[in-house]
């Protein structure tokens, strides 16, 4: 029996641990075998290459990390011709491609192209990146738009269709519901909060673009609240992330209702965060003689 087995909609995972888009790459293969992953989520790609935001793009605050990458990526074509084959060569875990577009048509066009690729097991639709002005984010805050986008994409694929939501909204449940009724097979949350930091000595914004994305330790309680709210209100599986560093953090999210978790910022602090989390969770479940499924959604008050 595999105590760690879980599933996200159509996708069965050998364990519930994946990675947060934009915080990971095949480079981690230098530290451990990438096949230990429950799934591999790519950095968000766009239809055409994106230059990204001017630096400084990073700043570590007292309790978390600010980033303003601006979805720098080589574009879909190069992703498919170079990145994906390279990745497939070293990773046999399910590959989920995170992608973003500037119109519903562009999202659909991208998905259509990717449907030709058997090595892609699913999609994470990024409608929640705070670091680009037109791309994505505008989609993520309005239930009607989310419903239209999801319906359009769901019609084009039978693979796992994850919609990744922003916490920077008034009511995340209404947006998750729109995605679910539109045909999403699971929900990923949370993308980064909006944050800012200023150098008190100089008055200069630590990040060139000012307001940026806030992740890591500080956002764990926010992510947990969003996970609990969506998982308890809807039947759709949740892929949870936000400040998860170790198996104890992950357990909180499973109790709150997450079906799987992703490690993001923690990969930077600890390159072994992924295998350590998997191993820690496994021995904890073994010790307590329970399966992950016995824990998911069982938070008590």
């Amino acid at each position: 029996m595999n105590r760690l087995q879980t599933s996200l909609g159509t996708l069965t995972m050998q364990n519930p641990v994946t990675v947060a888009s934009g915080t990971y790459g095949a480079e981690f293969g230098a530290f451990y075998d990438l096949n230990c992953l429950g799934a591999y989520v790519t950095k968000t790609i766009t239809r055409y290459p994106k230059q990204g935001n001017p630096p400084p793009r990073l700043y570590e605050t007292e309790a978390g990390l600010l980033n303003s990458i601006g979805l720098q990526n080589p574009g879909l074509d190069i992703f498919l011709s170079n990145t994906l084959p390279e990745l497939s060569a070293v990773c046999s875990a399910p590959i989920i491609v995170s992608f973003s577009g500037s119109t519903i048509d562009e999202f659909a066009e991208m998905l259509d192209i990717m449907e030709q690729e058997p090595r892609i097991s699913g999609y994470e639709v990024n409608i929640s990146c705070p670091n680009v002005e037109k791309e994505g984010i505008a989609f993520g805050v309005d239930p009607d738009t989310v419903h239209s986008l999801t319906s359009r994409l769901a019609a084009l694929t039978s693979k796992e269709l994850i919609i990744k939501l922003s916490p920077n909204v008034t009511d995340v449940v209404s947006i998750a519901r729109a995605a679910a009724t539109g045909g999403a097979t699971s929900i990923a949350l949370i993308n980064t909060l909006l944050g800012m930091a200023i150098d008190w000595k100089t008055g200069k914004s630590r990040i060139k673009r000012g307001v940026s994305g806030y992740s890591g330790l500080a956002i764990k309680p926010v992510a947990l609240a969003a996970t609990y709210k969506v998982a308890s209100a809807l039947r759709i599986p949740v892929l949870a992330m936000g400040g998860i560093y170790d198996w104890k953090d992950a357990l909180e999210f499973f109790y709150a209702g997450a079906s799987a978790v992703a490690i993001g910022t923690a990969n930077f602090a600890n390159p072994h965060a992924v295998p350590e989390l998997i191993a820690g969770l496994d021995s904890y479940l073994q010790e307590r003689d329970v399966s992950l499924s016995d824990i998911i959604g069982t938070v008590q008050f």
Binding site: G22, T23, Y24, G25, E27, F28, A30, F31, K43, Q51, G52, P54, P55, P56, R57, L58, Y59, E60, L65, N67, I69, Q72, G216, L217, Y245, T265, A266, N267, F268, A269, N270, P271, H272
Partner: protein, 250 residues
């Protein structure tokens, strides 16, 4: 590129602000190149926080030295380390300096740009003719080299180290410059080098998160102002051919 936890073999203090941590590892010592760096943290420190990028100052008989200036939270934590304490490191990272032979070379460093050039000089010495100019704010920021500049005049020549470089290049004969230091210094070095038509390699700095090329956080602008391509310092650098950098976008 490895993630290791190694004991500090020696912690050497140069003055109130600068110290050198030595670790020992045969395999890392054998593969580490001049201009590469490691991401360091004190193993017993808060595991949620980022590591700090520190260049390789020296490699000698399986020992690797990190020459560090105590600045903010991360380096202050490293500054508490004593012999026997555990250092958690990831590296070696970055591309390293291209090594040459039979060239007349100027090394230019400013402040904490000094350490990587030390190991570089050792690698170049003997096979090349090397002259090292170093500048700092004050006496405390200056270390052994061929020509010393300080902002406050407390040691060596008073002024910018780039003034020294300019004088040097005026007399000609230099084939190559390697530079490491604060951005304003690098900009000036690049200007002078271009003026005198001397090839220049620069070691760039950037705030880092992953250190291994996955997050795209540590970029510098390359290409032209019209067509900027952001490259990662941690993976595509830290060493760049100066003509690659889009200096006006810095």
């Amino acid at each position: 590129m490895e993630n290791r936890i190694l004991r500090v073999e020696k912690a050497e203090w140069l003055n109130d602000d600068y110290f050198i941590l030595w670790i020992k590892d045969e395999q890392l010592a054998a593969t580490t190149q001049a201009g590469q760096f490691y991401e360091l943290r004190k193993y017993s420190s808060d595991p949620h926080r980022l590591r700090k990028p520190i260049s390789v100052y020296n490699v000698e008989k399986n020992f690797i030295g990190f020459f560090i200036k105590k600045l903010g939270r991360g380096t202050t934590e490293l500054a508490t380390m004593k012999k026997g304490d555990e250092l958690d490191l990831v590296g070696p990272l970055g591309n390293g300096f291209p090594l040459v032979e039979s060239q007349k070379i100027a090394l230019v460093s400013g402040g904490i740009g000094y350490p990587p050039l030390w190991y570089l000089r050792r690698k170049l010495a003997g096979k090349n003719d090397v002259y090292w100019l170093h500048g700092g704010n004050s006496k405390a920021d200056v270390f052994p080299c061929d020509e010393i500049w300080s902002m406050d005049g407390s040691i060596g020549n008073q002024g910018y180290v780039t003034q020294g470089l300019e004088t040097l290049l005026k007399f000609g004969g230099f084939d190559l410059i390697y530079a490491c230091g604060p951005e304003p210094m690098l900009i000036q070095v690049a200007k002078v080098a271009a003026e005198y038509g001397v090839k220049l390699y620069v070691s760039m700095e950037a705030y880092m998160a992953c250190g291994i090329g996955v997050c795209h956080g540590c970029v510098v602008p390359t290409g032209t102002p019209e067509h900027i391509v952001y490259k990662t310092v941690c993976k595509e650098g830290a060493i760049f051919d100066a003509t690659e950098i889009c200096w006006s976008a810095l």
